[in-house]
Subunit: 272 residues, 3 copies
Amino acid sequence: MIKELYKLDNILLEIKKQKPLVHHITNYVTANDCANIVLALGGSPVMAESIEEIEEIVSEASALLLNLGTLTEKAVQSMIIAGKKANILNIPVIMDPVGVGASEFRRKMVEKILKEVKVSVIKGNLTEIKNIYGLKEKGKGVDSANSNFSYEEKVELAKRLAIKFTCVVVVTGEIDIITDGKKIYKVKNGTPKLTQITGTGCMIGSIISTCCGVTNDYLLASTLAILIMGISGEKACNGRDGIDIGTFKVKLFDAINNFSKEDLARGRIYEG
Amino acid sequence: MIKELYKLDNILLEIKKQKPLVHHITNYVTANDCANIVLALGGSPVMAESIEEIEEIVSEASALLLNLGTLTEKAVQSMIIAGKKANILNIPVIMDPVGVGASEFRRKMVEKILKEVKVSVIKGNLTEIKNIYGLKEKGKGVDSANSNFSYEEKVELAKRLAIKFTCVVVVTGEIDIITDGKKIYKVKNGTPKLTQITGTGCMIGSIISTCCGVTNDYLLASTLAILIMGISGEKACNGRDGIDIGTFKVKLFDAINNFSKEDLARGRIYEG
Amino acid sequence: MIKELYKLDNILLEIKKQKPLVHHITNYVTANDCANIVLALGGSPVMAESIEEIEEIVSEASALLLNLGTLTEKAVQSMIIAGKKANILNIPVIMDPVGVGASEFRRKMVEKILKEVKVSVIKGNLTEIKNIYGLKEKGKGVDSANSNFSYEEKVELAKRLAIKFTCVVVVTGEIDIITDGKKIYKVKNGTPKLTQITGTGCMIGSIISTCCGVTNDYLLASTLAILIMGISGEKACNGRDGIDIGTFKVKLFDAINNFSKEDLARGRIYEG
């Protein structure tokens, strides 16, 4: 366990107290789950992407999440306008580059956004993180591809990307890596079940955003988010590896909804 | 309890008998839940918004629901065309001005729709209702804001709005208010849990539309809808305030699916 | 039971082994359920519809599903581009003409797609299948209308459509019909509950696509898909006709997730 544990508690409490408004510009496949996850933690979600209102909506928000799931050129325009406004207002911007390895279009759009918008957190699986860094690796659809990087190589990549964009980088996988380029946390919680329902990746983005909405310590906020999803996944399984996905999804929402500081004791989190 | 109880029974029966087709022009976040809620009651949902087909689709419908959740300029065009057609065909139009307080764009779009389309029911939380009436109050995202109106002021506002647009107005909240400008019903059912999952507001719009699809008494239809959601929410909790949202959502759908006239006895509904 | 049973087993195994990527161009109402169904079987879903990336995405896919649920002109463009690319690459294209009877726009769009794209499977309810064949019958929304065709007439229609487009045709209903124009299978599994939640039709499209992603025998693949949905529906009910839709939907996902060759023994499938 890490010594900053008490700070994680505090973020959990602040979410309940402040009810951060999390502005999502996101995909239609997992939007409902993402909205419910924010509510489950105590935050308040809003999904809006019309250019005509995007600046006004984000101005009220505590965090802005840019999720590229079902990307359109129009949504990218909105992302950039909202992102710039968020930058001016010091609202953290979280980027979830879903499936960026799956098409040249996505690569270009992510590049464009990252050129115009200062992001606080980039969250992706290894293929996505590689592609953002410029290492082209073809993803299969929007899900994680197996990648032949060693753990050390992953950490090195994450650190470099974090330094390149002066942001926190989260690489999800069997071992999750969270770094700001200097400090590194690794988290070993979770269950393969989390990869067997759609949207858990997107939901992690929503949880990171909710946590970042109440603190300036985006490294800890992102680490907490990873712990919440991993530990809640374990609780939802409750030792039953054979749990089926209908029931698992219901129990995952339950677990996230009743997540408390006691649950943090299950965290398998390490520094370095 | 109110003396019109037997009429509420009748609406429930007619839904099962007539299977009203409810045409939704709505947001992508809660569309799935809204479709399932209509089915749960015995109606039939259709979501369609392409301008090329909107008149033909609405012509077959028993009710038209305009939900502004993830509003676009294009959707507003479709809403107006569909709304005008519904007006000609005497199909009730239900307006759910989601988050109208959250942006000037939404305020303008709602104004535009209300200028061109005669609506039968407007349903919103207090912030939304205030904004439609012209009292600008900044909402936080799309969820209800706390508002410092007394109960009497709320009723007065609802009545005035109902008179202004010659329609039924539903103001949701701890006490729900339903009025046509003359008669007033208030409903005290429900549970805070209903505000902790996304989409219950949208679903109320779908239930109102389903009920309005089988009767001309939109005041009673809207009142029944409010009772269905409130009582089903209570049944889903089953006394367990600590129920988590994954399980709660499943049980809410169950409760609405098996809602019967016996459940109406749990209604805490008052006149005046 | 049919003698090809062992082949059905094999398709189930191949899905787990190959994890076929199923590219959906689909509607926002049921997209989440469709993604989860593909995952439940062992496949991998991707939803993408931007013209800029559609060719690149489909090139990696094992099957392409065109679902017309919430149709737009823009989506049709993407469907045609993706469909043509799939044809070149020998990737099966599955067409689910949701609500094609509900508007002239849909009829024209389906016609346009079928003129430009060679499809491997067309799946619809009787009203939809009639409309594709050119027999105009007004559907009520996107759900199945009652139709006064005898069983023999249905089979005849399905065969003719299959011959017309040299593809497999699946007509869903109380008795499901699957034919390639020569061979005919009929399946008598299922439960009325499956028509009481939204998206089961769309999900069948996703299951067909997943199965077609690992075999060239699209007739057997489609038959297996119909068996999976019907038998899983029965398992989800578990003899309780009164099961409510919240619980039913959870159990349906569970049943599809743990579907195994042993379950195939419950198949009420007949030739001819």
